[in-house]
């Protein structure tokens, strides 16, 4: 497979996953480019042990998780350095539903359903978010998700249930 063919077939897939994992187009594009470049470098070594799409998902999710770890590390030192001045800034937008939030319909009117769901997704931890994105958006099987994340199928099943339960709670609060 040529590089161009690979990019033509997988760039859209990688960007969509990156968009749901990061929550914004700018970070998604940066992550997608990073993951695609890594995939292109590693492509000659791809042995076909798994589906190519699974391999690409794996590279994308691992690249994103590496970034999250790096951001957390930087955030830790930022907290140490500037915490005394109350200058904490999270790179990742955090959705904080309030008890007196407007009803879901009203919220949806303002921001749209996609934005609300995306904000709820960002409340999940990294593995749970990846599981939800791969299952609900990319419609991957439990086995394939486990392969991408290095988890057992049973673990994927239980974590997906917990992630859904948490999303339900978050969305219920928004619509309450």
């Amino acid at each position: 497979m040529s590089e161009q063919q690979f990019l033509d077939e997988h760039s859209q897939l990688v960007f969509n996953v990156a968009l749901r994992l990061t929550g914004n187009r700018s970070d998604a594009e940066d992550l997608a480019q990073d993951a695609l470049i890594r995939a292109l470098k590693a492509l000659p070594r791809f042995r076909g042990d798994s589906k190519l799409s699974t391999w690409v998902y794996t590279i994308t999710v691992n690249t994103w998780k590496n970034r999250v770890r790096a951001e957390k590390s930087r955030g830790f030192w930022k907290t140490i350095s500037f915490g005394a001045f109350g200058n904490q800034d999270d790179d990742e937008p955090v959705y904080e539903p309030k008890g007196d939030d407007a009803p879901l319909d009203s919220e949806l009117e303002k921001e749209g359903t996609a934005t609300v769901v995306q904000k709820a997704l960002l409340q999940l931890d990294a593995d749970d978010r990846a599981i939800v994105v791969l299952r609900e958006i990319e419609e991957r099987s439990y086995g394939e998700i486990g392969e991408v994340l290095g988890l057992a199928e049973g673990t994927v099943k239980s974590r997906l249930f917990r992630a859904r339960a948490k999303l339900k709670t978050l969305l219920d609060k928004v619509s309450a």
Partner: protein, 416 residues
């Protein structure tokens, strides 16, 4: 409803249950309103997430991707931490060489180096003849293990090491005195003030004691090279008159004489660079497995000149004795016929030394017990190796080898 049931509902929603599990959960859902509501809630969440739109790639995504690839290819990430990869083989080779050098230096067998000190070379031996040799140039004394048996010193082994060495020195001085006395027509005293076992040092009962002791005689040196050490040496007087006079002295007087003699001996040792003469028996025990023993020269201010023993900062192996007590072997580099003649005479060898074409050549002279001889001389890069055997040579000329003149130090090694 517990979490296990809810988890099954979530998997049921995804069609991830086995047929039996699916039939079982469907029966439960049909019977339980709560489970049905829970299933609907999960389905709603799933539907909401699925409703997120799939967005198209941003405009210019591929162009920016290719540009980024080009940038990263042009400036590859620095993978090295300290050294760039090109230098790693060189660094590895250098570090390996250093390690190998250290290991080699630590593990190689110590080479037995016996290098004559400066005072033993031809500069100090270079006198016109043996008879004219200034008494301060104590060639025979420095060849301390000269064949004592040839000189009637066979009984030295029964005495202490100090006494033995003192007798050697005394004998050597007496020998020089002989040479000088022969020229002046005086009777020889050589060998007449050698102690017998158990007798006072340097005196025999039945022989007259010389008016001056060996050390006192050296108080008026003629050679400038020896003026300082000789002048600094005390001049113990053994006694006036003959041995009878000595014996007629009281015990205290004899002790005082012996004490002065001992002090003179200590001074002589210092002058020669001898810090300690090891106890012979102890040394034999220590070296019982080594096949050789060493006596005499320890580290002193002059030790560096006397020689060096690789691997040991202290021991200077100046007087190696063959196993069994045979005296020491040394080699001198002599650069004049006079020096060779003096050494030849000092060693008590009969006849004349072999002819050597000085100054184009120098003579390597082996000092040691009778019967010793040079088997081979190897001129190496940094020194000259003299291989010897300490017995088996009837011809004393085997002690001398003529070589092209060289400033290299001489190393004495037993022939295999």
């Amino acid at each position: 409803m517990n979490d296990s049931t809810r988890e099954k509902l979530s998997a049921y929603l995804d069609g991830a249950l086995s047929d039996s599990e699916r039939r079982s959960i469907e029966v439960e859902i049909s019977r339980s309103e709560e489970m049905r509501l829970e299933l609907e809630a999960l389905r709603a969440v799933s539907k909401t997430v699925k409703s997120l739109p799939k967005e198209q790639l941003p405009a210019g995504f591929m162009a920016r991707l290719q540009a980024r690839r080009a940038r990263e290819d042009a400036a590859p990430a620095r993978e090295y931490f300290i050294l760039p990869p090109a230098y790693r083989p060189l660094a590895f080779a250098l570090s390996t060489a250093v390690v190998a050098l250290v290991v080699w230096d630590k593990t190689r067998a110590p080479e037995e180096l016996i290098v004559p000190r400066a005072g033993w070379d031809s500069e100090k031996v270079a006198v016109k003849s043996a008879a004219e040799a200034p008494p301060s140039i104590d060639v025979s004394g420095q060849l301390s293990a000269m064949d004592s048996r040839d000189k009637g010193l066979a009984d030295l082994s029964s005495g202490s090491a100090e006494r033995a060495a003192a007798n050697e020195i005394t004998a050597a001085n007496a020998k020089k005195e002989d040479a000088a006395g022969a020229k002046a027509g005086a009777p020889s005293t050589f060998g007449k003030h050698i102690s017998a076992p158990g007798k006072p040092l340097g005196v025999q009962e039945d022989e007259p004691v010389p008016a001056e002791g060996g050390f006192a005689r050296r108080a008026a040196p003629s050679g400038p090279a020896a003026a300082a050490p000789a002048a600094s040496s005390p001049a113990p007087v053994l006694g006036e008159g003959g041995g009878g006079a000595y014996l007629a002295r009281s015990e205290e007087e004899r002790s005082a004489i012996n004490e002065r003699l001992y002090q003179g001996f200590e001074e002589e040792k210092k002058r020669m660079g001898i810090a300690k003469i090891m106890d012979k028996d102890a040394e034999e025990d220590r070296l019982s497995g080594g096949g050789r023993e060493f006596m005499a020269l320890q580290a002193t201010p002059e030790a560096a000149q006397v020689g060096r023993a690789r691997g040991s900062a202290a021991a200077v192996r100046g007087m190696a004795k063959a196993k069994g007590g045979a005296p020491v072997l040394k080699a001198l580099t002599l650069k004049s016929a006079e020096a060779l003649s003096a050494a030849w005479s000092a060693a008590g060898l009969p006849g004349e030394p072999p002819a050597v074409s000085f100054p184009d050549q120098m003579a390597v002279f082996l000092a040691g017990p009778s019967g010793c001889g040079i088997t081979d001389v190897q001129v190496r890069k940094k020194f000259i190796v003299v291989l010897y055997k300490d017995a088996g040579f009837d011809d004393p000329s085997a002690r001398v080898r003529a070589l092209a003149a060289s400033p290299k130090p001489v190393v004495v090694k037993p022939a295999e």
